[in-house]
């Protein structure tokens, strides 16, 4: 199903079949079956939690190799603002941008520049759509996917604007074509990303037909290749910067909301917190709030699984870097953006539904409840499902059996063995009687 493409894969040879990932997954998408972790594609939202927790490094993020640069005559790097937070003592973004060119890219287009344009577009949208307050940020692809499968009532609250990286890709491609005269296919627009969820966005975008991004590189791959060139770049940095505090601020939590220039917002990060906020929002617990910024990773994009620096250290580094920057350097009146809004409406995908008809579901929910009453409620994970309830749902869906529960299995074995143990007792008693008779 193209609609459920994912950016995480499993190296079966490394997977031990432990229960760490099944326990950590926020949508209960993983099961251990036949000793290996299996992802239910429809449930997965590309958050990267399993990649983070896997001690055996069997869960691997999907992204492109740096070699992809060779496939194009002309390449443009799209550095995510999170990249700037990876370096020690960086005081000038231009050093990183120039180093990217020394490394081999023909040009650089800061995603943070496009982020400033998106901030302007969002400000306008928020002011004009009071009926949808609070409006929820959609730059994080995991958040969009989470709402799509779990929070149907919040779809109308979503900011229907393309994420900065997509706007950056469009602007960069246009600029490259104008500058080089090359056909579009010879130009490689390559995003230097903090997270693999962006690969999913590129391969299977939900609210636009096709992404203009040709490849997604990992910050952790590009980082070591930049260190040498940066020493050279620092001597003569080129003026490639097109963003200021607002744009670069997008790299960590609160940055996007800050760009709206309003105080009426909340910003949450980390899957558990995000889900809590969405649950509360669904129950209409928030009043007088204009905007909700949500990021799947702790700390925001700096916490992505493809970064190298500790997210909180990276956050501190970004803050220092921003101190002497201009507020913003990209503006819509200078750089207009055509059609920045979502082309397609997001469709609710009720993937957690147990069956088709309501009657069938009433039946199934009752079965789940009955099974739950039989299970010990320890949520031990030994069956390969994260909780007893999840196992009960799997059984009702026809994907597991009761004896997958080791506690049920033990009871069952006891029942089978009991006639033999009686026999055993009888035999022992018989022995004792014989002994007595002998005496």
């Amino acid at each position: 199903m193209a609609n459920f493409y994912h950016s995480v894969r499993l190296d079966e040879s490394l997977c031990k079949g432990c229960i760490n990932c099944i326990k950590r997954c926020p949508t209960q998408a993983i099961r251990v079956r036949n000793g290996k972790a299996v992802i239910t594609s429809e449930f997965c939202i590309d958050c990267g939690e399993c990649i983070r927790i896997c001690q055996s490094h069997a869960k691997l993020p999907t992204y492109d190799s740096v070699d992809i640069m060779k496939n194009y005559k002309y390449t443009v790097a799209l550095p995510a603002p999170a990249l700037y937070g990876q370096f020690n003592n960086l005081t000038d973004v231009r050093v990183v941008l120039t180093a990217l060119k020394i490394m081999g890219f023909d040009d650089v287009y800061e995603v943070s520049g496009a982020a400033e344009l998106v901030s302007e577009i969002s400000r306008d949208y928020v002011l004009k759509h009071k009926e949808y307050w609070p409006i929820i940020s959609t730059a994080c692809p995991t958040i969009v996917r989470l709402i799509r499968v779990r929070f149907p009532n919040l779809i109308t609250h979503m900011l229907p604007v393309l994420p900065p990286v997509e706007i950056a890709a469009r602007l960069a491609r246009k600029k490259a074509i104008e500058k080089t005269g090359l056909p579009s296919k010879d130009i490689g627009i390559l995003f230097i990303s903090p997270c693999p969820a962006k690969s999913t966005f590129v391969k299977a975008p939900l609210c636009t037909d096709k992404s203009e991004i040709d490849g997604v590189l990992a910050i952790k791959d590009v980082y070591p290749l930049l260190l040498g060139p940066m020493k050279q770049a620092v001597l003569a940095p080129e003026d490639l910067s097109i963003s200021g505090r607002i744009g670069i601020g997008w790299g960590s939590t609160g940055g996007e909301a800050g760009g709206l220039l309003s105080d009426s917002y909340l910003a949450a990060d980390g899957m558990e917190n995000v889900i809590h906020v969405l649950e509360d929002l669904e129950d209409e617990k928030f009043h007088d709030l204009q905007f909700i910024e949500l990021n799947a990773c702790n700390g925001g994009c700096v916490g992505g699984v493809l970064t190298v620096e500790n997210p909180y250290v990276a956050q501190a580094k970004l803050k220092r870097l921003l101190k002497y920057e201009a507020v913003a350097r990209s503006h819509l009146d200078m750089t207009p953006v055509e059609k920045p809004h979502w082309k397609n409406r997001l469709q609710y995908e009720p993937v957690f539904k147990l069956g088709e008809s309501l009657l069938e579901n009433i039946n199934k929910i009752n079965q789940v409840e009955q099974l739950c009453n039989r299970f010990p409620g320890l949520d031990c994970g030994s069956c390969g499902a994260p909780t007893c309830k999840a196992l009960a749902e799997d059984i009702v869906r026809g994907k597991a059996s009761e004896n997958d529960c080791i506690h049920i299995l033990r009871e069952y074995l006891k029942q089978i063995i009991s006639p033999f143990s009686m026999l055993d007792k009888d035999l022992k008693r018989g022995d004792a009687n014989e002994k007595e008779e002998e005496e």
């Binding site: 779990r150 149907p152 009532n153 649950e279 669904e282 129950d283 209409e284 617990k285 009043h287 609710y348 009720p350 957690f352 539904k353 147990l354 069956g355 088709e356 309501l358 009657l359 579901n361 009433i362 929910i365 009752n366 409840e369 009955q370 009453n373 749902e393």
Partner: protein
């Protein structure tokens, strides 16, 4: 939570613990997730979860907890919220939007907006309040499932 099996319905029971704000909303959240698993339309889920959450909070604040029984049938979702609290002296007044027994200072903090019962009524298709001073209150609400 306990359950009874009917041929055409699901019955869910929840205890609402007294004076514990950290747990208020637990029952409505569980019901919400079950309704999503049942493929109930988002609009119905929204009505049920908001009405039930309001009721649950009221039980924590005013009535020292109680119990909630939710019955889901192909026709409707019925919620019965029962408590042994102080009872509601004037139901008609309490049902009026903006009516609140909370003192002015408390209302200034955003509590007691007087929208609890009115909201519950707005979000449900039927609502019945049975109350007796010093004995308790039972609120029965139902949201119809269309089509």
């Amino acid at each position: 939570m306990s359950e009874q099996t009917g041929t055409s319905g699901v019955e869910l029971k929840y205890m609402v613990s007294p004076d514990d704000f950290t747990r208020a909303g637990e029952a409505s959240s569980k019901v919400k997730n079950i309704l999503k698993q049942m493929g109930i339309s988002p609009d119905v889920i929204r009505k049920v979860s908001i009405a039930m959450y309001e009721g649950e909070i009221n039980m924590v604040i005013h009535a020292h907890g109680g119990d909630i029984t939710v019955t889901i049938t192909p026709e409707e979702i019925r919620m019965v919220l029962r408590d042994d609290g102080p009872g509601i002296p004037d139901v008609e007044k309490a049902m009026k939007a903006g009516y609140s027994t909370a003192p002015e200072q408390v209302r200034a903090l955003g509590f007691g907006a007087g929208m609890g019962l009115p909201n519950m009524q707005n979000y449900t298709d039927e609502m019945k309040v049975e109350t007796e001073i010093g004995v308790g209150t039972t609120i029965t609400m139902s949201v119809h499932i269309e089509g």
